[in-house]
Structures are given as C-alpha cells and as structure tokens.
C-alpha cells in the first residue's frame, strides 16, 4: 500500500517535470515541482495556519451533515407521509447547483465560518441521506419476517434491526461525504472569506503566484485524504461485521 502510493506520487512528479522539460512553460503557467516544494519548505507555518479555519469548517460541517442526514433518512424511512412530502424537496436541494448558491449564502450568513459550513453541509446532505435511506429500505426480508413472528413493535424493528442493518450503507454515504466536505469549505472560501486555504488560493491567483496555488491545492488534497482515511478507519472499527467480502 505504502509502496504503491510512493511509486504513484513519484511518477506523477516525474510526469509533471517532464512536461516542463518538453514544453518550457513559464512558471506562471505551470511551476516546477521544485518551486512548489520550496513554497512548502519556506512557508509551511503559513500553510498550516491557513489550514486551521478550513479544517475546522470541514470537520464541523461533516459532523452536522452526518447528524442531519441520518435524522432525515430515519424520518423518511419511518413515516410514510414524510416520504411523499419531503423526498421531492430533497431532490430539489441536490438539483440546485451549490456553486451558484454559494455567493447567496455568503451574502446571507456573512464572511465568517457559518457560510462555509452551510455550503459544505448542502453538498454532503444528499449523499448521506440517500445512502442511509436506501439501506433502511433494504432490510433483508427474512429479518423482518422473523421480527414479525416475534410480535415486534415497529419502532423497535426500526431501532434494533433496520438501523443496524443499514449502517454499512450509511458508512458508504459518510465516506463520499468525507471527500466532499473540504471541497464545500473551499468553495465557500473562494466566494468570500478573510482566511483559510481557499482565501490563500484566491490571493495567490490574483497575484499570479501559481506556485502558491499549487501548494495550497496540495494541502487541501492531503487534508482530504487524511479525513477520508480517518473516517474509513473509524467506520471499519465501529462496524466490524460490515467488512468487505472482497479482500
């Protein structure tokens, strides 16, 4: 795993460098890997400092979206009327382009963190809700028949059978959300902010500091991968019975 990752990254850097050797693009179009590394080397305290607001927004938004998404999936699965009334709205919220909505949210919620969190939540809400809801709908019929033969109450069937049986589906929704979360925060920062990695990119872009753009981009990528790994690992710990059957 580590070896493969190392080889992949190394080949990517090699490809990047060879493109520069062949086409001789100037640094303001495509900086060399070396230049980007130098930005990291010299200015890592700034990159780290600007990561903190972005990461805070990301983690908060992820937690809130997980709670909100799960709750709405439960409501959809348990109440028939909720399905008819709310599912169209859920679809609509997903059909709205978040990128276009972002300026409005910044206008309404201000330059601070809350607009970024709101944008990230809107991006994550649908994948979490729909994957959990799908799982809740697909309880193995044998379990339900067994429960019925035991004179089970509907709410206990939901709580003790349908919810646990749907947790692996919720987990895949959360994995998708973990990748979307930093993107949501950065999109919010692009539209208007006074700090964060998105703000850093915006500034660097305006000043044609493309090496800075790349450095910030890499920071976002690394954080995204780390967040995904953390979520993936804790889900595997929490749901040992949902291990992949394909090893």
């Amino acid at each position: 795993m580590l070896k493969r990752g190392f080889i992949s990254i190394l080949s990517l850097i090699l490809l990047w460098q060879s493109l520069l050797w062949i086409f001789h693009w100037p640094a303001y179009i495509l900086p060399s890997p070396w230049q980007v590394a130098m930005v990291w080397y010299q200015y890592w305290p700034i990159l780290l400092k600007q990561s903190i607001p972005t990461l805070t927004e990301t983690v908060l938004a992820f937690a809130l979206a997980a709670v909100l998404g799960s709750a709405s999936a439960l409501v959809l699965a348990y109440f028939h009327w909720a399905r008819a009334w709310f599912f169209p709205w859920l679809m609509l919220s997903q059909a709205l382009p978040t990128f276009a909505l972002a300026p409005l949210l910044v206008l309404w919620l201000g330059y601070g963190e809350s607009s970024k969190i709101a944008i990230a939540i809107i991006m994550m809400f649908f994948p979490i809700t729909s994957s959990f809801y799908d799982g809740l709908k697909q309880t193995p019929p044998g379990f339900l028949a067994l429960a019925k033969s035991m004179n089970a109450k509907q709410r206990y069937i939901l709580w003790f059978i349908r919810v646990p049986a749907a947790l692996p589906s919720l987990a895949s929704g959360l994995r998708v959300a973990a990748v979307l979360a930093p993107m949501g925060a950065v999109v919010g920062e692009w539209v208007g902010s006074s700090r964060g990695l998105g703000y850093l990119m915006l500034n660097a872009n305006a000043r044609m500091q493309i090496d800075w753009m790349f450095a910030a981009l890499m920071a976002i990528t690394v954080w995204t991968l780390l967040l995904y790994a953390a979520v993936d690992l804790s889900l595997k710990k929490l749901l040992p019975w949902a291990e992949d059957s394909v090893k």
Binding site: P141, G142, S149, M150, N151, Y156, P164
Partner: protein
C-alpha cells in the same frame, strides 16, 4: 414443558392467490397438538408459503379462510418461527441474538436477570454455553443453526414452525441437530417443512405430502416408533420406499 398447552391447529379452507394463480384452493387439514408434523412436497409447491401463512408472516398474495387453534382462537402471539437460513443478526452476540425477541417486544437493550438466565439455559441445551459472547460470523454453519434453535426455544411458544431449518447442513450435523430438536421441542405443536424424506422419517409423528396446483395434501402417514428414529430401524426403510413412491408420483408441480 407440561405447563405449555399445545393446541391442535385447524387450517380451514384457506385459499391463496398469487399473481392470478391459486397456490391453494380451499385447503383444509389439521395439525395434531403436541406432535411433530412434517410437510413434504415437490419444490415450488408452496410448502414455505403455507408455513408462513400459519406463522402469520406471509406478505404476498390474496388469501381467504382461516387458521386457528381448536378453541377457535387466532395463533397470533403463540407461534415461534425458524427459517431456512439462521437469520442471526451479525452485529449481535450469540446471547443477544437469542434475546432478540425481548428487545423487539419491549425495547430492552439489557435483559432482566431472569430473562437472561432463561436464554442461557437454552444455550446450554443446544451446547453453546461456551460461545455466548461470540459474533455469528465466527461460528460454523451448524453452530449458527443451534443459536437459531435456541432463539426459537427462548420464544417459549406452544406452536413452533420450522422451514427447512437444517437444509444447509452436512449429514452428520443434520442428524445431530434433528435429535436435539426432537428432544427440546417435545410436546409442542411442531409444523416442520422439509424437502428431505429421510428427515421426515426420522423425526415426524405425522408425515404429510403437499402436491399439485392448487396444492392439496395427497398423502398422510403416522409412522410408528419413538422419535428420533434410528437409521437401522426396519420400519424406517419400509416407509421410506412408500414415501419415495408418493413423492415420485407427485412429480413436478408445474406439469399439473
């Protein structure tokens, strides 16, 4: 187990129509109280559907007629069901799987002590007392069916409905579990669906064969001898020949 009142069950002229075809049309028969009735028949004839009708868990099809105990009461709340697969919840331990009914009826995550002792008692009877904390995934197929049997026993119902419970097991495990089931389910009204005539011969007080479309009971026998019958029993082999003949003639239900 004498405190259990295991009633006769009357199946009164039930019809089941599924997608425009009658699986059963005014089918009537009686299950003897406190005895093992095994139902045989070609696959696809509706054995499992019939069992699920009795269990009150069949969700498909339009139906008529009624199924009740001899006193004219509904069976609801007096039935325990064990399916073809063990239906163990993978996230629960062996003990919690046995206690499942308690959770689903009362919402208790932690059972009361006497309830737990009852579950432990049944787990001991099926020989799993050493494994109560394990998750189903680490158990063998045979052990999983034992857990399912303990869960069925824990429900402590006078009527027990078994849908090919041991069909996935190898022969030795199967013989073992049949003997165990006969012992622990003694004096309950047991309705046991199987595709295996040898299983029926080994454990049944009454054997019925369901065949045709719409399906009818075309054969009924009450083999002699104490259950579980031993394979070396003479009567066993004589009846086997007769039973196989019946099943052979019953043939493919789709051809009727």
């Amino acid at each position: 187990m004498n405190r259990l009142h295991s009633p006769n069950i009357e199946i009164n002229s039930i019809s089941l129509n599924y997608e425009g075809r009658f699986l059963f049309d005014k089918l009537s028969f009686r299950l003897a109280g406190g005895r093992f009735t095994c139902l045989l028949g070609p696959s696809g004839v509706g054995k499992s559907s019939l069992l699920q009708l009795v269990a009150g868990i069949l969700s498909l099809g339009a139906r008529q007629g009624n199924i009740q105990s001899e006193e004219g009461l509904s069976l609801a709340g007096r039935v325990a069901y064990m399916g073809q697969t063990d239906l163990l919840l993978p996230w629960l331990s062996v003990l919690d799987n046995v206690l499942l009914g308690e959770r689903l009826r009362w919402g208790r995550r932690h059972a009361r002590i006497e309830t737990k002792e009852k579950a432990l008692h049944y787990l001991e009877r099926v020989g799993l007392i050493q494994h109560i904390k394990k998750k189903p995934a680490v158990l063998s197929q045979g052990m999983r069916q034992r857990v399912a049997l303990a869960r069925t026993l824990f429900e402590d119902k006078a009527i027990v409905l078994m849908d090919e419970p041991f069909s996935a097991l190898d022969l030795v495990r199967k013989l073992e579990l049949q003997a165990l089931a006969v012992e622990v389910l003694k004096q309950r009204t047991v309705f046991w669906v199987t595709h295996d005539p040898l299983e029926a011969l080994r454990i049944a007080d009454v054997i019925m064969v369901l065949a045709g479309r719409p399906a009818k009971i075309i054969y009924q026998a009450e083999p002699e001898g104490l259950v579980p019958r031993e394979l070396r029993d003479q009567a066993y082999w004589a009846l086997e020949a007769e039973l196989l003949e019946v099943l052979y003639r019953a043939g493919d239900p789709l051809a009727c």
